[in-house]
Symmetry: C2
Subunit: 589 residues, 2 copies
C-alpha cells in the first residue's frame, strides 16, 4: 500500500527562506500568511493524509457510475468533499467580499500540491471551481457575482469549464456551440461539449457551467467566441435553487487514469445562461483563468511526482536485493537495500531534484501572482506579472512532463511490483499522463513560450528571468563556496541566451525554424530555470547549514546532483534547437 506524508519541512523552507515574504510583509495578506503558515500546513496535511489519500486507490478501482444523466462518485468522496468544505479550503484565497479568507496564492500552492499528491481525481472538482470563481470574480457583473459566488466560495456549489468540442480541442476557434439572446438579459445555449471534467457529479447541490459559445453573426474563429454561465439548477433571487436547467450529461469517458474524476460529454439544449464579460471576448476571459489553471496543472505534475518519490524512496530503503558494488552494507541481512545501488540512487535523486526544484519554482511563481495582484507599486506589479507570464508555460509543461517521468521512475524502482495495481505507484503514471495534454498540450506551451513570451515587449518577459539571474550570479561570484554552482549556472545561462537569440531570429525569418525546436527550447529553458532555483537553494543551505545540518546537507547534495547529472541536458538541446526546421519540414507524409 502506498504512503503519503506531506513535505511540510520543505514547504516551510520555501516559505521562510526561499521566498522574500518577510521583505514584502506589508503586501496585503503576506504577514497573515507568515503567521498562519504552520497551522494551515498542518491542517491541510492532516486532511490530505487522513481523508483524501486513503480513498485514492479506492477511487481508482471503483471508478464512477453513470446512469441516465447522473454520475455517482466512489465510496468516501462525498464525505471527503464535506470535510474539505468544512475545513474552509474552497475559500482560502477568495475575496473576503464573497466570504473568502483572502490568503495569498503562495500559501495556497502547498495545499494544492498536497491535494494533488493525495488524490488528484478528488482535487480536480474544487480546482475547477476555483477557476470558475476566478472567471466570475474578474469578468462577472455585480449581479452575477452576488447571485453565484458566495456558494461557489463556500464549496456548496462547484464550477466547471466547458471549452472542448469534438472538432475543437487545441483550436477553440472551431467552437460551434450557439447562444441566442432571450430578451430578458439571459441567453439560450445549445450545443455539445466533450472532455468536461466534473461536468456532472454528486458532490455539490449545484454546478455552474462556464461555456464558450458563439452569438449570432459573431466573427469566425476565436474572435467570435463569448463566455456564458449556465447553472445546472436555476438560482432564484436570494440564492435558493429553482428548476433544473436544460443541460445534461450524456455519458462519461473511460480513461487511462483519473478514473474517479468524471470526464463528461455535455449537451446543452436551449440551456438558460448569462453572458460573462463582453460579447465575443470569451477567449480573453478564458485566458485570464487559463494562466492560473496552467500553473495548477503544473502543480498536478509536482504533486504526483512527490507522492511517487516518497514511495520509491521508502521502497528502495526496504527492498533487499543484491550486494552493494563496494561490498556488503548490511552483511547480517540476506542482501543490501536497493538504495545502496548507484543506479537506484540516480533514480531517487532525479526524482528529488525535480520535486524540490519544482516546488520552489511553483511557489515562487505563485508568490509573483500575489505580487502582481496585491502589491501597491505598479512597476512591481508589472515585473511580477512578467515573471508569471514567462514561467506559466514552463511550469505547465516541464512540471507535467517531469511528473510523468518521475511517476515512471517510481514504477522502475519498484520493479515488477511497480506494474501491479495493489502497490499503487502505477496509478500515478496513469493519473499523471493527462496533465501533459489538458489546459493546452505541452506542445502548445512550447509555442506559447516561443512565439508569445519570447518576443513580448522586445524581450521584456525574458528579462524578468535573466535580470534576477544575472544579479544572483554577480552577488555570489566571489564566494568560493558557491563557485561549484555559479560557474556552471553562468555557462548554461549563456547557452540559453544563444538558444533564445536563435529562436527569436529564426522565428522572424521562418516560423517553422522556431516551431521545430520549441519543445526542446522549453525543456532547455526549464533546466536553466531549475539551475537558478537550485543555486539559490544551495546558497541558503550554505548560510543556514549549522542550524539543521541534516536538512541542509540534503539540499546541497541534491543541488550537486542536479548540476552534475541533470543540467548537462542543455548542451544537446541547444544542438537540436539550432538544427532548425528543415529536418522536420523536408519530409513528405
Amino acid at each position: 500500500m502506498p504512503v503519503y506524508k506531506a513535505p511540510i519541512r520543505d514547504f516551510q523552507f520555501v516559505l521562510r527562506e526561499f521566498l522574500p515574504l518577510a521583505a514584502n510583509k506589508d503586501v496585503a495578506g503576506f504577514s497573515d500568511a507568515m503567521e498562519m503558515a504552520d497551522p494551515v500546513l498542518e491542517a491541510a496535511a492532516s486532511l490530505c493524509e487522513d481523508v483524501l489519500f486513503p480513498i485514492n486507490q479506492v477511487g481508482d478501482k471503483e471508478g464512477l457510475k453513470y446512469s441516465d444523466g447522473t454520475v455517482t462518485t466512489p465510496t468516501g468522496f462525498k464525505e471527503a468533499y464535506k470535510a474539505y468544505c468544512e475545513g474552509g479550503w474552497p475559500s482560502f484565497t477568495c475575496d473576503p467580499a464573497f466570504g473568502g479568507q483572502g490568503l495569498p496564492e503562495c500559501l495556497n500552492l502547498p495545499i494544492m500540491e498536497m491535494a494533488c499528491s493525495a488524490n488528484l481525481s478528488f482535487g480536480l472538482t474544487p480546482g475547477l471551481s476555483h477557476g470558475a470563481y476566478n472567471a466570475l470574480f474578474l469578468h462577472g457583473s455585480e449581479e452575477i457575482q452576488k447571485r453565484f459566488m458566495p456558494k461557489l466560495v463556500s464549496g456548496e456549489w462547484s464550477g466547471v469549464m466547458c471549452l472542448t468540442e469534438p472538432q475543437a480541442g487545441t483550436d477553440l476557434g472551431l467552437v460551434r456551440t450557439k447562444a441566442e439572446t432571450v430578451g430578458d438579459g439571459s441567453y439560450k445555449i445549445s450545443g455539445g461539449k466533450i472532455f468536461i471534467s466534473s461536468g456532472e457529479h454528486d458532490l455539490t447541490e449545484n454546478i455552474l457551467h462556464l461555456i464558450l459559445a458563439r452569438l449570432p453573426g459573431a466573427p469566425k474563429g476565436t474572435k467570435g467566441i463569448s463566455l456564458f454561465l449556465a447553472p445546472k439548477f436555476h438560482v432564484k433571487e436570494g440564492g435558493s435553487l429553482g428548476e433544473r436547467n436544460s443541460l445534461r450529461c450524456e455519458g462519461i469517458e473511460h480513461k487511462m487514469g483519473l478514473t474517479a474524476s468524471p470526464t463528461c460529454v455535455m449537451h446543452y439544449d436551449n440551456a438558460i445562461g448569462y453572458l460573462i464579460g463582453e460579447p465575443n471576448k470569451g477567449m480573453k476571459a478564458m485566458f485570464t483563468m487559463m494562466n492560473a489553471a496552467r500553473i495548477y496543472v503544473g502543480v498536478q505534475g509536482l504533486g504526483l511526482a512527490e507522492v511517487a518519490y516518497q514511495n520509491a524512496l521508502n521502497y528502495a530503503k526496504e527492498r533487499l536485493q543484491s550486494r552493494a558494488l563496494t561490498g556488503a552494507k548490511f552483511p547480517d541481512k540476506q542482501a543490501d537495500p536497493i538504495i545502496s545501488h548507484p543506479d537506484v540512487r540516480r533514480m531517487i535523486l532525479t526524482m528529488r531534484a525535480f520535486t524540490e526544484g519544482a516546488r520552489a519554482l511553483a511557489m515562487l511563481t505563485a508568490f509573483n501572482v500575489d505580487l502582481s495582484h496585491r502589491h501597491t507599486d505598479p512597476q512591481v506589479k508589472q515585473d511580477a506579472d512578467d515573471f508569471v507570464q514567462l514561467m506559466t508555460p514552463i511550469v505547465k509543461a516541464y512540471l507535467t512532463d517531469m511528473g510523468s517521468a518521475v511517476a515512471n521512475l517510481a514504477v522502475q524502482v519498484y520493479g515488477g511490483y511497480g506494474f501491479i495495481k495493489d502497490y499503487g505507484v502505477e496509478q500515478y503514471v496513469r493519473d499523471a499522463r493527462i496533465a501533459e495534454i489538458y489546459e493546452g498540450t505541452n506542445g502548445i506551451q512550447a509555442l506559447d513560450l516561443t512565439f508569445r513570451k519570447l518576443s513580448f515587449g522586445s524581450g521584456r518577459y525574458l528579462r524578468s528571468f535573466f535580470h534576477p539571474v544575472d544579479a544572483f550570479i554577480t552577488e555570489h561570484k566571489d564566494n568560493p563556496a558557491m563557485a561549484e554552482f555559479i560557474k556552471p549556472l553562468a555557462k548554461h545561462v549563456g547557452y540559453l541566451q544563444q538558444a533564445s537569440i536563435f529562436m527569436a531570429t529564426a522565428g522572424l525569418k521562418n516560423p517553422d525554424d522556431a516551431a521545430a525546436g520549441a519543445t526542446e527550447y522549453l525543456r532547455m529553458f526549464s533546466l536553466v530555470v531549475f539551475a537558478w532555483i537550485w543555486a539559490k537553494q544551495a546558497a541558503i543551505a550554505l548560510k543556514s547549514h549549522d542550524s539543521e545540518p541534516e536538512f541542509y546537507d540534503a539540499k546541497l547534495a541534491t543541488a550537486r546532483f542536479f548540476f552534475a547529472k541533470v543540467l548537462p541536458g542543455t548542451t544537446s538541446l541547444l544542438q537540436s534547437i539550432t538544427a532548425g526546421g528543415k529536418p522536420v519540414m523536408n519530409v513528405a507524409f
Copy 2:
C-alpha cells in the same frame, strides 16, 4: 479504433538490402529464408492484422478470469491460438529433428515484431514457449527432449519460465524453492513463485514449468540453483497425458497493462519434475535462454512503438486543428491537418526514426544469432556471438525505454483522445511499461553492458561494434553524398570511445563511478549504434534511390532527422557519465 498494417516493405528492405543474407547464402536456412520471405511475411501479416489485432482491445477490456486454480483467457484468444498453431508459427525456427521448420531468427524476428504490435498479451504465451524450447533444446537430456519437445514445437503444449519469488527478483541468488531427489531420476519440487507469465491458462492442454530451485546442500547464492522441468500434467510414455501434477495457480495479478496476459502466483507442492542440465548450473542454463528472451523483450518495445507510430501518423493526417504557421495548407477545410505543425512532425519523426532504426538493429542482431549458430567457420561464429553479446542489453533496454516513449508520443499526438480507452493508444503505454522491467530491469541491462560486456576479453565485445563502424566510415569517407552522415557519425563514435574509456577506467578504480553512469552509458551507446544503423540505411537509400524514390526519400529524410534531432543527445550524456559516482554516492538517505 486503432489500426495496424504490417510494415512489410520495411521488413523486405532490411532482409534484402540491409542484411548481408545474399553474401551468406550458403549458411543453412538462409537461401530458404530469402526465397520464402515474401509469402512468410504476408501470411504472418494476415494472421496478425486479421486475427490477433482485432482481439487486442477486447483482451484489454475483458481481462482474465481466475477461479479456483484456473485461468480463462478473453473472448477469441483460444481461437486465435488455434489459428496461430495451424499456421505453423510455433515451429518456425525449431529444429527439424523435433518437427520444426529450421528457419533463421532473422526471418522470425519480423513475425515476432508483428505479433507484438498486434497483440502483446497474446504473443507472450508462444514467446515463452519458445524460451522453454530453447532451454530443453540446449540443456535437456535426449529422453526429456523426446518426451516433451514435439508438442512444444507444435504449440499443443506451452512452456513457462519460473524464476521470481517474493524475495528474489533481480537477485535470483535468494531463490528458496526446493527440489529433492525421489530416487527414480525425478525430483520433488516445493515452493512459491510469483510473476509467472502464462503460468496457467486455457490455451494449451499442458504447460511445462521450467523452475529454478535448490537441491539439498547446494551452495548459497546463484551457484546453488538448478533448473527443473515440471509439467502441469504428467506425460506418459508415448506422449499422452497422465495425472495432474501437484502444482497450482494461486491467483493472478491485477496489472497496469497486459491485462490479457496471466501473471500467476504459482505454488509447487512436491510437484514431480526433472533436472535440466547439471545440478547447480541452473543459472547458466537460464542465461542461455535469457539472451534470446531479452532480444524478444526489446522487440516488444519495437512492436508497440510501430503500432503506436502508425496510429499517430494516421491521426495526425486526419485531425484538423489550427493553421500551418506559414499559411493555410488546406484553405478549403476548416483547419489544417496537425501533421502540418512542426512540433507534431517532430513527434512523428521521433517515432519513425526509432521504429525503423530499431527494426534494422533487431534484425541485424537476430542475423548474428543465426551466424553464431549456423555458420561453419568458428571465427565467424565467435564474431557474430560477440556482437550479439554486446547488443543484447542495448536491444533490451533501449528498445523498451523507447517503446514506452514512442507509445507516450502517440498519446500526445492524439491529445485528449489519447487518454480515452476507446481510441486504443493509451493501451500501448500501459502494455509497454513492463518491458522496461522484466527479463532484467533496464538498470540491470546497463550494469551488464558496463561490467560484463565492456571489459570482456580486453574489449573483444566492444570491437565487434567499433571495427565494423570504422570500416563503414572508411568505406564512405570520400563520398560527398554521405558526408552529412559520416562526419557526425565519426564524431559521435569518438565521444562513445571517450565514454567507454572513462567507464572502463572508473570501473576498475571504483565500481560506483561506473555504475552511477551506467544507464546514461547504455543510452549513449544506443544512440551511436542507431547513428551507424541510420548511416548504413542512408547509404543504401542513396544507392537504390531511383528504383523507388518515395520509399528511399523517406529513409533519407528520417536519417537526416535522426542525425539533426536525436543523435545530439550523446554530448549531454557524456557529461553526465564523466561526473562519476560522487553525485549519487555522497548523499545520506
